[in-house]
C-alpha cells in the first residue's frame, strides 16, 4: 500500500472511492446540495470544480518552494480565486445556459473546502504530477457523487434525466425532491447507505476503521467543522 500511494491510478481510485470527497469526507456541502437539482447542473458543477482543482493543485505544487510557509493560505486563496474567475468567464462564454442556472455557485467554488483541503493536505507537499492526479481523482469523485445525487433528484422530482422524460406517464413527479428539502433528504440517505455498507464491511472482515481515516469520521457530523483534517493529519503521520 505504501509503495503505490502516490501512483496516478491509486490517486484517482482514492478520490473516487476511498476518500470520496462528498460521501466519505463530507466536504463541499454547499455546491453538493445547491447545484444537484438536475443531472445537467450536477455535471456542470462537477466538471468546473474538477478543472479548478487540477489547475490549482498543479500551480500550488509547482510554487510550493517559492511560497513562504506563513503566507501559504492567502497565496492559495489568490491562486484558487484566479482560476475560478477564469472558469467563470469560460462558462459564461461557452455554456451560457449552465452558467445561468448555476449562477452564484460558480464564484463560490473559491470557498469549496475540497479545493483548499487538497491544496493544504496534498499539493503543498507533493510533486506536480502526483498533485494533478490527486486533483483529477478528487474531481472525478466529486463529479460522480454530484451526478448520482442530481440524477436521483431529477428522476424522482421531475421524472426526467438530462432533460429527457424517462418515467412512465402514470408516475407523478414528487416536486419536493428538486426543492431544497429534497437535497437534504437524498444526501442523508446516501450517507446512511454508505454507513450501512461500512458497518457491514467492518463486521465481515474485522476491518479497522481508524486505518482508513475517513471511515470513523463519516458518521461524525463534526466533520464539516474539522474539514476532514484528522484524515489528512493521519496521512501525514503515515507518510
Amino acid at each position: 500500500m505504501k509503495d503505490n500511494k502516490d501512483k496516478p491510478l491509486e490517486r484517482i481510485w482514492n478520490g473516487i472511492y476511498v476518500e470520496n470527497p462528498v460521501f466519505c469526507l463530507i466536504l463541499g456541502m454547499c455546491p453538493t446540495l445547491a447545484t444537484t437539482t438536475s443531472a445537467t447542473n450536477a455535471i456542470g458543477m462537477g466538471l468546473s470544480t474538477t478543472a479548478i482543482l487540477v489547475a490549482s493543485n498543479l500551480m500550488i505544487s509547482l510554487l510550493k518552494g517559492i511560497i513562504p510557509n506563513r503566507m501559504r493560505i492567502p497565496s492559495y486563496i489568490v491562486i484558487i480565486a484566479s482560476f475560478v474567475t477564469i472558469v467563470e468567464f469560460l462558462m459564461e462564454g461557452f455554456f451560457p445556459s449552465v452558467y445561468a442556472s448555476l449562477g452564484i455557485y460558480i464564484p463560490l467554488i473559491v470557498v469549496n473546502c475540497i479545493i483548499m483541503g487538497r491544496a493544504e493536505a496534498y499539493a503543498g507537499k507533493k510533486g506536480p504530477v502526483e498533485s494533478v492526479f490527486d486533483g483529477l481523482g478528487m474531481g472525478i469523485g466529486f463529479t460522480l457523487a454530484l451526478l448520482l445525487i442530481g440524477s436521483v433528484r431529477e428522476i424522482v422530482g421531475a421524472g426526467t434525466w438530462f432533460g429527457a422524460k424517462i418515467t412512465p406517464a402514470i408516475y407523478e413527479p414528487v416536486n419536493l425532491f428538486i426543492l431544497a428539502p429534497g437535497a437534504f433528504l437524498v444526501m442523508a440517505f446516501f450517507v446512511a447507505i454508505m454507513n450501512k455498507l461500512k458497518i457491514g464491511a467492518a463486521r465481515r472482515t474485522d476491518w479497522d476503521p481508524t486505518e482508513n481515516g475517513c471511515a470513523d469520521c463519516s458518521s461524525c457530523a463534526k466533520l464539516g467543522f474539522c474539514g476532514g483534517k484528522p484524515a489528512a493529519a493521519e496521512e501525514e503521520v503515515k507518510a
Binding site: 492567502p74 486563496i77 464564484p107 470557498v111 442523508a188 461524525c220
Partner: protein, 189 residues
C-alpha cells in the same frame, strides 16, 4: 416598506441555509451544542454585516470606477479573509469579553460561503451599499435562527434511539430537511 420586505425575505423566506445552502459547513458542524451554535450565529452576524458593508464600499468606489468588476471574486475573498483577521485582532485587544465568546469561531468564518455569497448576491442584484448591508444583516439573522433551532433539536435528539446507519451526519440532514419544509410555510403567505 421595501426594506422591511427585503429583511423578512432574507431572514425567513429565502433562508440562507435552508433554501440557498450557503454556510452549510458551519450549520452542520457547530450545531451540536446550543451554546456554541449561538456563539457561531452571532459571530457570523457580526462578520457578515461588516463584510457586506466593506465589500459594497470597495466594489462601488474602487472596482467600478476603474472597470475592474471582473476581479470581484478575488477582491471579495481577500477582503473577507483580511476582515476576519482584523476583527479577531481588534476584539482580542479591545473587547476581551466578546473575543472570549466568539474568538474560536472567527477563523472558521473565512471559508463560510454565506459571507462571500452575500457579497456576490449584492453585486448580482445591484443593491446599493445601504441595501446590501441591510440584506447582509438579515441574512445573518436567518442563519442565527436556523442554527439555533437545529442545535436545540440536536440536543434533544441525543436521547433518541437512532438507527445505527443514520447516526451522526444523516439524521442531522433529515432534521435539516424537515426544518426546510417548515420554512417553506413562510413563502406561502
Amino acid at each position: 416598506m421595501n426594506i422591511m420586505l427585503l429583511a423578512l425575505s432574507a431572514a425567513l423566506i429565502n433562508n440562507v441555509v435552508l433554501s440557498q445552502f450557503l454556510g452549510i459547513c458551519a450549520f452542520l458542524g457547530v450545531s451540536k451544542k446550543s451554546k456554541s451554535a449561538i456563539g457561531m450565529g452571532f459571530a457570523v452576524t457580526f462578520v457578515l454585516t461588516l463584510a457586506s458593508l466593506v465589500c459594497g464600499i470597495i466594489y462601488h468606489f474602487l472596482l467600478v470606477p476603474f472597470g475592474l468588476q471582473y476581479l470581484k471574486t478575488i477582491a471579495f475573498i481577500l477582503i473577507v479573509a483580511a476582515l476576519v483577521q482584523f476583527v479577531e485582532m481588534f476584539l482580542k485587544k479591545f473587547v476581551k469579553s466578546l473575543y472570549d465568546a466568539l474568538g474560536i469561531y472567527l477563523p472558521l468564518i473565512t471559508t463560510n460561503c454565506a459571507v462571500l455569497g452575500v457579497a456576490l448576491i449584492n453585486v448580482q442584484k445591484d443593491y446599493s451599499i445601504f441595501t446590501g448591508t441591510v440584506y447582509g444583516f438579515f441574512t445573518a439573522v436567518g442563519f442565527l435562527v436556523a442554527i439555533t433551532i437545529l442545535s436545540y433539536i440536536r440536543e434533544k435528539m441525543e436521547f433518541n434511539n437512532v438507527p445505527k446507519a443514520f447516526q451522526g451526519f444523516p439524521i442531522v440532514m433529515i432534521t435539516a430537511a424537515l426544518m426546510s419544509i417548515a420554512f417553506f410555510g413562510f413563502s406561502s403567505f
